[in-house]
């Protein structure tokens, strides 16, 4: 892999995505012990073309702390497995009832509801098994396990989804919405950054900087997601647009308006990049990625 410092941003991202895609393919091959149809459903969801934002962030965080990006691949793939599992379950008829994801029919549309629930469950378990591929260093595995479990758990990802399904009572304020999305989206982005740092043996100050960047950029990502649902291009996004307002969901543009939502996202990206100042060096690609999050169209 090309050295970060001399490699342009887009080339670096492409290389990291290729590494991640190859590793996801490798780690998700189940062999004889797994029912064929289950393995198919898992790989259908996991290997669908995607931005691979979270695993790329893991690798970039490892690099930014002076570590070897390839050594972080198990952690990067574990985060993507958790992301893929959460998308499968979110799309179920009992949840968001979506037919289209990443430009293809959703997992339950192809494999049926029961198999989709199980494919999500199996990917969740596989994420933790994959983390243990970092097993030359048990202290790193233990810390990564804790970080990922907390980020996926009731106080973060699962809790954010629960709020989404049954919004808390009270006025729909921007504070309430940010609180939901810190759990639903930015907790896993923050965890991605932390995992990358932990694999590189980062110190507390570095981990704090990465976490602050992750929280801010993760929330900006969600605001942009809400904006794309209002005015995005269905073909580029690979999923339906306008569904948030159809479902009567709380969104940033609905509360703040489009203009102020864009400003809020930009301010969060700026705050995230400022936190990176506390890393010694090697964080330039994290800067560039934060700006990509702001300007993306899918």
């Amino acid at each position: 892999m090309t050295n970060t410092s001399t490699c342009p941003f887009t080339q670096c991202v492409d290389e990291m995505r290729s590494l991640v895609d190859a590793a996801l393919d490798r780690y998700s091959r189940q062999g004889a012990g797994c029912p064929e149809r289950l393995a198919e459903a898992m790989r259908y969801a996991l290997l669908a073309p995607g931005k691979r934002l979270r695993p790329v962030l893991v690798l970039m965080a490892t690099r930014a702390c002076g570590g070897d990006a390839e050594a972080a691949l198990p952690a990067a793939c574990a985060v993507e497995m958790v992301h893929a599992y959460s998308l499968i379950h979110d799309d179920l008829p009992a949840m968001d009832d979506d037919d289209l994801r990443r430009g293809r029919p959703t997992c339950h549309k192809v494999y049926g509801e029961a198999m989709a629930i199980l494919a999500g469950d199996a990917l969740f378990a596989l994420a933790f098994e994959t983390l243990t591929r970092l097993d030359a260093r048990p202290a790193v595995v233990a810390e990564c396990c804790r970080t990922l479990a907390v980020a996926a758990g009731p106080r973060c990802l699962a809790g954010g989804q629960a709020d989404d399904v049954a919004p808390p009572s009270g006025e729909a304020t921007v504070e309430l919405l940010e609180d939901i999305h810190r759990r639903k989206t930015s907790a896993l982005v923050e965890a991605s950054l932390r995992l990358g740092g932990v694999v590189a043996g980062a110190n507390e100050e570095q981990l704090d900087a990465l976490a602050q960047y992750g929280r801010s950029v993760g929330l900006a990502f969600q605001i942009v997601d809400d904006l794309l649902d209002v005015r995005g291009d269905e073909a580029a996004l690979g999923k339906r647009v306008g569904k948030d307002s159809q479902h009567g969901k709380l969104t940033f543009p609905a509360i703040l308006g489009v203009e102020a939502s864009m400003h809020r996202a930009a301010a969060l990206v700026a705050a995230g990049c400022e936190a990176l100042g506390r890393l010694s060096d090697g964080a330039e690609h994290l800067h560039a990625l934060a700006h990509y999050v702001l300007e993306r169209n899918r």
Copy 2:
């Protein structure tokens, strides 16, 4: 807690259950960060009265290898969380569509399908977070994480469920059925024994003996489960009986007949107990538990 060697079996089991129930209550309190309804749904399923077979096996395995049972509580509770999550998802309308579990309405009947899916997901994540409470010893956490993830994953628990939902083609033989149930039931029982051994710092020979006991007794447990579905007492079981044959499921009594199924379960329990001979001592309660599995009525 009373010393194993002087404590009668039933007293020991009762004490271990109390320890487990208290720890499950402690570990599943989520505090402010978790939506209230989600926490309720998780605790409704997790704290429902149950046999606590798997966590008791974890503690007994730790004891049988000379370890301190209380030190194994995080591992014991993690297994019970995985078990509770799998029951919630199994009971969903898209899966087994069950209304009754542990004598009470199933989780989705009380909290709705979406919240039940998320409660299962959240308990699964909480299981891995709980494992990291063993964190004074990162090598133990890493090994427990691997063991539990594999047992819950696509080649074991999730795979067994997938076979249950979409049975593999081919003749319904006892070998096929045992293969499914090794994944669906006995893999998590085997993992319980292994986890207990790992926490106690067991050597390879001890872990092998525990695993063999777990595989055999886990399969015997499933055969007895099938038998109870044919002729059990609904009130004692706390779930519907006769549902396997209604659903056209493969079961041991359907393939082997009642008599031969009982003999098969007894032979498995004998084989499991024989494996315990390779443990130095302290395994007498595992012997007794294997016989309880055979004779249970709920």
